[in-house]
Structures are given as C-alpha cells and as structure tokens.
C-alpha cells in the first residue's frame, strides 16, 4: 500500500518530461519514443494499482494527500490547500487518461516527424495537468491545473498541426481562457460567500457546503451560471463550440485523440464536481434550461455532422453531439441517468479516440480527408475496415458494444425522470432519441463513402495498418467490447459517489 502515492501518480510525468532533456537522449528519436512509451505503460500499470486498492463501498476520499511548503499549506491566508484525492469518478478519469495517453504516444510514431524532445515533454506536461484536474481536492488547485493544460495544448496544436494550426491553437486558448475567467469569478464568489456565510476560510471540495438556507439563492444561481460558462466552453455546449472543429481538424492525430477523449471530459467532470456536488439547489433550478441546451447539442450538431465532407470534422461534430447525451444524463437527476452519463463519458473517450486514430491512419496514407476523394479503401485495407466497422457501430450504439450502454442508460434515466418543466421531460427524451437515427446516418455515410462506394484506382496500393496502429485500435476495440458486455465493472466503481451526490439532488 505504501508504494501507491497519488503525488507520484500526478507528478511522475513531469519527471519523465525533464528526463527527456538529459544528455542520454541527445536527439535520438527512437530512444526518446521508446522511453516515452515505456514510461506511459508503467504509468498505466501504476494507475491500475490505484484501482486494485480502491474501496468503492467507502464514499470518502481515497488516497488523500496534501503538499505543504515549510509547514504552511499552499496559500494559507486564503485557506487554500494543495491537496489531492480520488473518488470513483476521479479514478475512472485517471485510468482513462493514462490509457489514452499510452495509445496516443504509440500513435505518435507515424504522425510526429520533428522536434521530438519538445513534443514528448509537452505531452507529459499535459498529462500532469489533466491528472491534476481530476485529482485536485481544492477549487483553486483545480483551476490552476485547468489553466496549466492550455500551455502544452497551445504548443501541441500550433507546432505539429496542419492547415491553419497556429490560428486554431490561438482560438482554442483564447476561448478556453475566456471561459475559465468566468469560472474563476464563480470560484472566487463561491469561496468568499462560503466564508461570509459560515466564517470558514476554505476552498476544499469536501468542506464547502452551500446546501444550508443561509446562503442566498440568487448568489448560488449566479455562481452556478458563471461556473457553467467555463465548463460549457470546454465541453462544449452549442453556442460556445466553434473552437472545437478548428482545433480538431488542425491538431495532429494523437493530440486530437487526447482532446476528444479527455479534454472534453474535463468540462463534464467540472460540472459534476462544482455545479452538482457543491451547488445542488442551484443545479435543480438550471437543470431544465440546461436540458434544452443538451437537446440542441445532440440534434443540431448531429445534423451539422451529416452535412460535413471532411472526415475529421464529422468525428469532431459527433463528439459534441455525444457530449450532449452526457449533459442530458446529468440533468435527469436520477441514478440511472447519472451513471449513464458517466459511462457515456468513458465510452465516448474510448470510441472517439479510435475514430480519430482511424481518420489519422487514412490521412497519412492518402493525404486527404475529403470524402469525395476517398472510396473503396476496403479492398486495400481490409483490417482497417474491420476496426472501422466496430468503432462506427459502437458510436451509433449497437448493443453489446460500449456506446449502447451509456446511451441506453441516459435515455432510460431521462425518460423516468420526474421533473416539472414547461415541456414534459419525456418529450425531450423522445426527441433526443432521434440521435440514434442521425448518428447512424452520418456514421454509415462515412463508412460507405470511405470504404465502399467508388473504387478509385489510385487507392489500390495502400498499405494496410501497421503493427503499432493495430495495437492502438485493438486495445480500443477490446475495451469497447469488454465494457459493452460487462458495464457493471465501471458502474460499481462510481455507485457510492453517485448516491452521495444525488442525495441532495433527487427530486
């Protein structure tokens, strides 16, 4: 048990990043890559160790650890602590992070051609930032890691991307920075009003409680909305989503995988941590409105995805659509919908990473992502087509695959939810279920136009997937299959947290 340390988990990627600058690596590309992959595999194993010692029955924070500097906490005068800890949701996100980072590093082999040392150190910095976001037990610490993630992402998109990558990277940073400033305002107000109401100078997630009636309701709703703006940019919720297609299209494949699989989940994670856990009463008020946004997210972006001709844009818009399902599940305010939402977060993380990998593999070989130019790839690349089929079916929500469980639970939860909204929630759910048809439409169109349809002579001599690409796709597909058949493996971990959160939220 002693070797399981949350600080080692979070900060070891930073150590790895600094090791890359040691003279041992010089500019030896192969050695840098192998070291990075080896480190990421060890990190994944280490994070699985946390799963082994995790006790889901206990709803307290596991592996709690606080860093102190010369006997004082991080910012003592404001009561801020540099404290880390895990509950079920954090643990799942941490394992997903380690898993996707390993795969992204494997996928980097064929995508990254220059500045290797810089690239891998930035990836590791990003990993530390993301792990910090998921494990932080203090609002300001959460915010610090949330902002820290921008610097490596800026370089990763801007330096190794294609197209107008510099502009896209800047757009990504500015959008997120603006959103996070609103979030900061919300955090500051929450911190201050918690102090003013209870006289307790703290920003710890577990000690802040605003459920008591003394906390003014207007303030709760204001804070909740300010926080929501920050998370809505990241998630993204529809009017604030325009950075995402640009960033995805111009980012290199491994970065796209990380962006879709983990960075979008930060928004949903923040929504759970702040809006639902800390401000439950305010969330009950904004949930019906948020549900309308979720519906727009689901249907509107699915329709846009159908109109796209660029493969990566289709996958990017389908990501937004899938995040709409997550929001719908969170807004249903019952155990089924909620566990469905979290399952959908994990499922979408795995599936979208696979889809971006797929598009990346096609792009490397054909140098195009336009559906018009592609066609008949199935003859030259039968193995890739097999994987593509499974990934597309999982994305559409075929039973026994991972995508089905999340969507089914969300819709079930939303349909059974007992709310008083202007339009009954059952109607929302029925409308949202149309995503099953819409997603089938754009996914099968993608499959059809790429792998079947017109057979072009020029694509007959393409190489099928290489070993490292096979490993990535196989790992993702086996995860999809395993958790599609055995979803309780995930749901059992989050069950205690869910009941803990929902005891204040249930109507």
């Amino acid at each position: 048990m002693h070797f399981i340390s949350i600080l080692a988990l979070i900060f070891s990627p930073l150590v790895a990043a600094s090791l890359l600058f040691s003279p041992f690596f010089k500019n030896n590309e192969v050695r840098i890559r192998r070291f990075s992959k080896g480190f990421a595999s060890l990190h994944l194993l280490y994070s699985l160790g946390f799963l082994a010692f995790f006790n889901p029955v206990n709803d307290d924070i596991s592996y709690y650890k606080e860093i102190t500097f010369f006997g004082t906490s991080w910012i003592q005068p404001l009561g801020l602590k540099m404290a880390f800890g895990m509950d079920g949701i954090s643990l799942l996100m941490v394992i997903l992070t380690s898993f996707i980072f390993l795969l992204a590093l494997i996928a980097s082999k064929s995508n990254i051609r220059s500045k290797h040392k810089f690239y891998y150190s930035m990836i590791f910095l990003l990993q530390t930032a993301l792990l910090g976001v998921f494990c932080a037990r203090d609002m300001f610490l959460f915010f610090m890691f949330w902002e820290l993630e921008l610097i490596p992402m800026y370089f990763l998109i801007g330096q190794w991307g294609g197209g107008k990558c510099k502009a896209s990277a800047m757009k990504f940073v500015l959008y997120t920075f603006l959103g996070s400033l609103f979030m900061l305002l919300g955090i500051l107000l929450l911190h201050f009003y918690n102090f003013a109401t209870y006289g307790n100078m703290t920003a710890d997630f577990s000690t802040i409680s605003v459920t008591a009636p003394e906390f003014p309701m207007f303030m709760q709703v204001l804070i909740s909305i300010l926080l929501l703006i920050g998370f809505a940019v990241k998630m993204p919720i529809v009017p604030l989503h325009t950075w995402l297609p640009d960033a995805h299209v111009d980012a290199p494949t491994p970065v796209s995988m990380i962006l879709a699989a983990i960075l979008l989940k930060m928004g949903a994670y923040g929504l759970i941590r702040f809006n639902m856990q800390l401000l439950p009463d305010a969330f009950k008020i904004i949930a019906p409105i948020l549900m309308i946004f979720a519906l727009i997210n689901i249907i509107y972006t699915a329709l846009i995805a159908y109109a796209q001709t660029d493969l990566k844009k289709i996958v990017a818009y389908s990501s937004i659509s899938n995040m709409g399902i997550v929001i719908l599940g969170l807004c249903s305010l019952n155990v089924i919908g909620f566990s469905g939402a979290i399952f959908q977060m994990i499922a979408h993380g795995v599936i979208s990473a696979g889809l971006f990998m797929l598009v990346g593999i096609i792009y490397i070989r054909t140098k195009t992502r336009e559906m018009v130019d592609l066609g008949g790839l199935g003859t030259a690349m039968p193995r890739l087509m097999g994987f593509a089929l499974i990934l597309a079916l999982a994305s559409v929500g075929l039973p026994l695959l991972m995508g089905f469980v999340g969507e089914f639970l969300v819709f079930l939860g939303a349909f059974n939810s007992s709310y008083d909204t202007i339009v009954p929630i059952k109607i929302y759910t029925v409308l949202a279920i149309s995503i099953l048809i819409l997603s089938a439409a754009y996914m099968f169109r993608l499959l059809h136009k790429t792998f079947f349809a017109n057979i072009f002579e020029k694509w007959n001599n393409l190489n099928d997937i290489m070993n490292h690409e096979f490993v990535v796709l196989f790992a993702l597909v086996s995860a999809i299959g395993f958790f599609g058949i055995f979803p309780m493996a995930i749901i059992n971990i989050i069950q205690p947290v869910l009941t803990d959160i929902l005891q204040y939220l249930q109507i």
Binding site: F69, I75, L174, L181, L185, L188
Partner: protein, 480 residues
Amino acid sequence: MEFLNNLKNIMLPEIIIILFIFIQIILSMILDLKHYKLSKWITVLGIFLATSMCTKVQIDPLYSGFKNAIISDNYTIFFKVLILVSSFFIVFLTKRTITTRRGNAFQFNSLILTAILGALTLVSSNDFITMFISMETLTFALFFLIAFERGHVSKEATFKYLIISAIASAVFLFGVSYLYGITGFFNFTSIYDYFIEKNPTLLYSMATIMITCGLAFKLGVIPFANWILDIYEGASTSVVTFLSIIPKVAMFGILARLLVFPLSYSFELTFVLVTISVVTAIWANGLAIRQTNIKRLLACSSSANAAYVLFAAALVSVFNLSTVLFYLIAYIFMNIGVFAAVIILESSEFSNYLYEFKNFAYTNPVFTLCFATCILGLAGFPITAGFISKVYLFSAIARSGLIFLPFLVILMFTIVISVYYYLRVVKLMFEKSDVVASEVIAHKTSSAIVILYCCATITIVLGICPSKIIELCQLIAYNV
C-alpha cells in the same frame, strides 16, 4: 536637536543615498569618464548599504518626524525595501546604455540614485508638500535619464514626458489647493481628522478626483497615458526598466495611503477610479494587439497592469491592500525579467521588432525558457507568480461588492486580449525561419543573463509557494 533625532531615527536610507549621490558627482569631476565598472559597484554598494540601513529605521510604533511631514511604519519600510531591491536589480542592466552612449557613468548613476531618493521620500511622505517635492525630484531625474540615449527620438520622448508631467503636476496642485482651501491643512492625518466631524462637500470630491488624475500620469493610466508608448520606445531599455518599476511602485505606495486616509470620504472617487482603470485596460490591451515592437508592447502591458492594480486599490479595504502589495512584488520580478531579456537581445545586435524573435527556441533554449516564463507570468498562466497574483487580486475585487462585478467582467475580457499578444511573442520564438540568421546570444551581457535567470526562478517559486509572501503582505496591510 529634534531635527537630528528625526534624521537618525527614520532617514538613514535616504542619507546613505544622498551621500552616494555626492560621491558619484565628486568622482565624475576628478576621474576619467570611462570608469563604468567602478561607478556601477559604487551604486550597488550605496543601494546595499541603504537597504541594510532599513533595519535601523524605527517602524514600530509608528514614528512621525519633521513636524509630521514624514512618517515611518511597516508599510513605508516595505515599499522602501521593494524600491531598493528592484533598483539593485536594475543597476546591473545599465551597462549597455552607458557604453554605447560613451556617456559619463558617474552622472548616469547619480541620476539613478536621485530618482531612488525621490521614490524613497515619496512613499514615506505624510503631507502634500513633501509628496510634491519628492515626486518632482523623481521626475526631474527621469527627464535626464530618458534623454540619455543618443538620437532625436529620445529627445522627443523627453520633451513629451516633460510637458505631460507639467500638466499632470498642475492638475495635481490644483486639486491640492482646493483641498487646502476646504480644510486649511496639507497634512494627510489632519485632513483625515478634519472630515471625521464635518461632511465632505462636492468640492472635496472634485479635489480628490483632480489629485488622483494628476497621479495617474506616473502610473501611465488614462487620462495621462498617451506618453507611455513613445517614451518606452525612445528611451534606452535600462531606463525604461527603471521607469516602468520605480515610479510606479512608489506611486502606488503613496496612492494607497492617500486613498486610505485623506481621500477616503469620496464615493465618487471610487467610481471614477474604477472607470479609469477599466477604460485604461481596454485602451492598453487593445492598442497592444497591433504592436510589432516589443518595447511598445511592454509599454501597453505595463499600463494595463497598472490598471488592474488601480482597480483593487480603488476599492479600499485591508484585504485589497494586501493583494495590491503582492501584485506589485510579482509584477516587479516578471517585468525586470522581460526587460533583462530585451536588453540581452539588444546587446546581441537584435532589433526590438518581434519578427526577429524567430528561431530562439532552437538556438537558445534556456534563454527562451526563462523569457517565456516571464512573459507567460505577465499573461497570468499557472505555476508563475502572475497566476497567483491575478487570482489573489481578483479575489479581492470580487468580494468588494456585487456592484463592481460588471466592471470586473469587462476587465476579464481585456485580459483575454492580453493573453493573445503575450502568446504571440512566445509563439514567434518557437517559429522556424530561414530568413533570420540564428545567432547565438552573446556572453558579454552576463549580468543581464544572471538577472533574467534569477527573475524567472523567483517567478516560478512565487507561483508555487506564495504563502509566506502573502502572509507578509497581509501583515503589512493590517498594520497601516
């Protein structure tokens, strides 16, 4: 006898500085002009002695000497140490200014010391006359420092600075005369006591607004902000470093005291200052987007940073004051770091234009890392002092009342703009280009390099464990 006692008790740092000013002037008459190093080390010694004399100053209990014209407490000594430490750093950056000008090093350093003297007495002054004299001492030295660079650009800059400074002083004095007319006092404490019994009139608000507008000149905020771009471009970089830190720190020191004591009865003033600050933030950040010269860009940035601090200082409270102090500490080190980098570039024959920054990341990785740390610190990214200071400053503003929230939201929008132009500088350093020759940075500026590394380290350390410094700031703010 009382005069000598006062001198002994609270004026020791100033006396040391005056002594070294005379030493410099005498040496300039008897020695050859080229003794750059000797002059520098004499200045450094003077500043060091003055800093160490700060421990001999009586601060607790509060000491007011010279018929209550000058006071000394924790707060003034904090600012004195801050001014002396930052000028200690800046003196090491002045080499290039003197050597390229073939100027008289002793004259230059005596001017620097005079400006420091003005700043030191400014923060500890307790009436408007002392304050005005110290302010003018500081400004007069700066006229000559700005004009020290060769060419007509610096002369033009000096002239502009002179005229705007004169107008600002006139506005300031006008306000002071009104205040004297109402109360019959120049002394801060007396004016504060006067209004405890009598209600402030509209004329009082008018006078306070005029006084703060006059002081706005030194801070580089609207209405007297338009000098800042040309003067930053025209003056030599080490002087600009001095200009962007010492007058600003001293002015915030005295402004915060003014806002706490004699000007604290005017509600209108708070709103005027908040509006000024927001307008300045919009103006400066908007202007910075189009700048291609790093010095002009930093001028906008310093103006914008002054606006953020002014916002927190305007909403007077003990907590706000502590955030202002911490912000100033963080800002000083990041700013010196950035200017040190600019000076290193200048002495390696790079111009100040941003497009020349290409390729640095590949030719000088450590330099780029430190430079980028300071720039990202100014932009407010985490694990730098800039992040903590911004969060801390905003936490103060956010708890000052819901009525200021819309202003704060506007301020945040302008900060997003500032992220754009700061990141552009960093981006250019990582860009590859074949056109610009990738020169290695010269090692003849070793002192500037050491200072850059120091500042980058301090920026990171303050960003990770700021607890002790924040506690210090709170201690000082609570004892004003």
